[in-house]
């Protein structure tokens, strides 16, 4: 049911495409890994996010999606409002182990 809803609202992107196309952070799923797209942060809190460790091209792991979106950067866990998560563009990691089974 939940999967059907997701597919309905968010057009499904093939894995090999997702590996290269920047997508909003809010579209990833828990367990996904991605890199912040260079110049991919165009939100109000850009400087603060940079200082908190969310820098261009850094690798992140998505712990939870929705409100809030929780991501892990190195050993830091950051909670972001979904509004902020929608403004951060990321490139999903092609070598993400969770993706291979998808």
């Amino acid at each position: 049911m939940g999967t059907h809803k997701r597919q309905h609202h968010e057009p499904r992107i093939l894995m090999r495409e997702r590996a290269f196309i920047p997508v909003p952070l809010s579209q990833l799923r828990p367990g996904d890994r991605a890199r912040i797209h260079a110049d991919g942060m165009k939100c109000d809190a850009c400087d603060l996010l940079n200082a908190m460790g969310l820098t261009d091209r850094c690798e992140i792991r998505v712990c939870k999606v929705g409100e809030p979106c929780i991501v892990q950067v190195n050993t830091t866990r950051l909670g972001l409002s979904s509004k902020i998560a929608k403004q951060i563009m990321v490139v999903p990691s092609p070598d993400d182990p969770s993706r291979r089974s998808a």
Binding site: A45, Q72, G79, S81, K83
Partner: protein
């Protein structure tokens, strides 16, 4: 030298010569254990400091270890020194010597040894400031347990400063750290231009690869257990249930535990007042000391147990890492009214008393968010309003307990709605501007530090006592003086009753006591009416006339500006009964009170408008004093007083008009 991340110290031999350090500024990211280190070094020898021109506070303390004596300035935790935030501004101003009272001789940069990637970038930005610096790698014991090995010497070479591995929580590496401070020097190393940039991240990667070894040294690991707990605690439904359970437990504990010390404080001051009364001769000095000073202090210091318990439990809760998650849960609700999720705890605390509630707004990082919360916190129905609510709902719905109960609950609802709508209005007018986006670091879950919680509690209590001992005390004395002077001679009726009491004292002592009590009541009523407060009440009566208040009610409302609960005792004095509103006879006597023209004081319309007035009006001078202290300006308490009282008057007028039109 590659060693497990245990306590050790290193420093390269190059660079500028060491300076003699007397004052040290502690800087670092939030959640690095900076304040735990400060508490360990200074203990109770510390105080909160508001620096001129700054809206953010720091703590200043003295560290005495053997012959070594250092003044430490614990600056707020920041993610970057160049951010456009008040706390970053304070750090910059302090480090660069723009605050005369806290210009440091050296800087102690506290890093979390488990989160070096980001912390190193902060250290690089701090070291570029050209201040003699020592770097403390805190939580080194935890890093060692995680299998991290940190080459302290190599790190010290790369940073070109003293680096010491410590554990502030366990008190390890502290002597080495203090010794290293004697060798603090300006770093000569080159660092990336901007922290938080991709270049800075690459630099930190390179330093980590060369200095840190072990599993998870670089990169992120998955922690599915924490993921699951976070998902539960921030879930829209489950998270809310957990939050309600935690907060209910917190406030029930506060009410339950605070009652005994509060009763003891009241007893202590009552005994002290009686002792003074019996030892001093009758006169103005005795009245000032007993009724003004002791009575005023008792009325304020009685809140100390609630304040201590609130801050102790909040500090423990914050230390566990839960509060950061809870902020997201409440943000969903609060953001609709322009308030952040962190505003919930202060607003909930205000249901006990607005004083700790306003002090708890320090949890809110954004100044506009904090000001909006302070502004509306007194709308929440506090315990001081309870006797007034009990009295007025009993008068409104005598013999109909269900309706009285519903009216009682409606009072709480009206206060909360007024608070949220006022916050929304304030954020769209005087406090306009974007709220700080909801971005929070979620610290790892851990056992809270009892020592830190106790020191935080002590600090908050001292701030409150200092405030109570000065501003609040002065206000109480002035209000007492206004209602106690000028002295009015007892009316003939009271003199006659006392004479009758004297006549029957030997034959019927019980009747004599009753007559004396009746005489006292009449004399107090006469004093209340003839006092400055009473005269002001008579002058102000036309203002309250449209609300249906007569002269007696106006005096009672004005005297209750000192504290709301005074209303009931003033009304009891004016009507000549006891102030025990749980006693049905007392309520009946108050219900039977008449105006000068013989009509009832408490008509349906007047009782309803009075109830609305008490829900919304700002009638607590100590709260205004605390608002002044927390905002650093008289502008906010004046606005708070004006808005709340104005709104209370307008809605009370409306209520009176509507109920009167309906025949009440």
């Amino acid at each position: 030298m590659t060693t497990p991340a245990t306590e050790s110290t290193a420093g390269s031999s190059g660079g500028a010569p060491a300076v003699r350090v007397r004052r040290v500024a502690l800087v670092g990211n939030p959640n690095t254990g900076k304040t735990t280190l400060f508490n360990l070094l200074c203990g109770v020898r510390s105080k909160t400091a508001n620096f001129p021109g700054s809206t953010v506070e720091a703590r200043v303390g003295t560290c005495v270890r053997g012959a070594r004596r250092l003044e430490l300035v614990d600056l707020p935790g920041v993610y970057g020194l160049n951010l456009d935030l008040p706390e970053s501004q304070l750090c910059r101003d302090c480090i660069e010597g723009r605050i005369g009272a806290c210009q440091p001789d050296a800087m102690l940069v506290v890093l979390d040894a488990n989160n070096l990637h980001r912390n190193l970038q902060f250290a690089a930005a701090a070291l570029r400031r050209g201040v003699p610096t020592v770097v403390a790698l805190n939580m080194a014991d935890l890093a060692a347990r995680r299998g991290l090995t940190i080459d302290i010497e190599h790190l010290a070479q790369r940073l070109d400063c003293e680096v010491v591995a410590i554990s502030a929580r366990r008190g390890r590496g502290i002597d080495e750290l203090l010794a290293a401070l004697d060798r603090a020097r300006v770093s000569g190393a080159s660092f990336p231009d901007r922290s938080g940039s991709a270049e800075a991240a690459e630099w930190a990667d390179a330093v980590l690869r060369a200095s840190v070894g072990g599993h998870d040294a670089v990169g992120s690991s998955s922690d599915t257990f924490t993921d699951r707990i976070d998902a539960a605690f921030t879930h829209p439904v489950l998270g809310m249930l957990v939050f309600v359970a935690v907060m209910s437990g917190l406030f029930l504990t506060i009410f339950w535990l605070a009652k005994i010390p509060m009763d003891l404080i009241e007893l202590l001051f009552s005994t002290a007042g009686d002792a003074l009364r019996s030892h001093l001769s009758d006169g103005a000095v005795r009245d000032l000391l007993v009724d003004g000073v002791v009575g005023g202090l008792a009325g304020v210091l009685v809140f100390i147990p609630q304040i201590c318990l609130l801050f102790f439990l909040l500090s423990l809760l914050e230390d566990t890492g839960y509060l950061a998650r809870a902020a997201f849960v409440m943000d969903r609700v609060m953001c609709r009214f322009g308030l952040p999720g962190q505003a919930f705890v202060p607003l909930l605390s205000s249901h006990a008393c607005a004083l700790p509630g306003i002090m708890a707004t320090r949890l809110i990082p954004d100044r506009h968010d904090r000001l909006a919360t302070i502004l509306v916190a007194p709308f929440m129905s506090c315990t001081a309003r309870l006797p007034v609510y009990v009295l007025l709902t009993s008068l409104l719905f005598a013999g109909r307990p269900l309706l009285a109960g519903m009216a009682f609950a409606a009072c709480y609802l009206l206060g909360a709605v007024a608070a949220l709508l006022t916050a929304l209005l304030a954020r769209r007018t005087i406090l306009r501007g974007r709220s700080r986006p909801m971005v929070l670091e979620l610290p790892s879950y851990k056992w809270p530090s009892l020592r830190s919680a106790l020191l935080t509690t002590l600090d908050r209590a001292l701030v409150f006592v200092k405030n109570a001992g000065t501003v609040i005390m002065a206000i109480c004395v002035v209000m007492w003086w206004l209602s106690a002077y000028p002295r009015v001679d007892p009316p003939p009726q009271a003199v006659e009753l006392r004479a009758q009491a004297a006549e029957v004292a030997s034959s019927d002592p019980a009747a004599a006591t009753e007559l004396e009590a009746a005489a006292d009541g009449i004399a107090r009523r006469n004093q209340q009416i003839g006092s400055f407060a009473g005269r002001i009440g008579a002058i102000a009566q036309p203002v309250f006339q449209p609300l249906g208040f007569d002269r007696q009610l106006t005096v009672a409302v004005l005297t209750s500006f000192m504290a709301r609960e005074v209303f009931v005792s003033t009304m009891a004095v004016l009507v000549g009964t006891s102030d025990d509103v749980s006693d049905r006879k007392v309520v009946e006597q108050l219900a039977g009170a008449t105006r000068d023209d013989g009509t009832p004081v408490f008509t349906m319309a007047t009782s309803a408008s009075l109830l609305v007035f008490f829900v919304l009006a700002m009638q607590c001078l100590p709260t205004l004093a605390v608002t002044r202290r927390e905002t650093g300006s008289w502008r906010w308490p004046i606005l708070q007083f004006g808005w709340m009282s104005g709104l209370a008057w307008a809605l009370a007028f409306l209520t009176h008009a509507v109920v009167s039109a309906l025949g009440g």
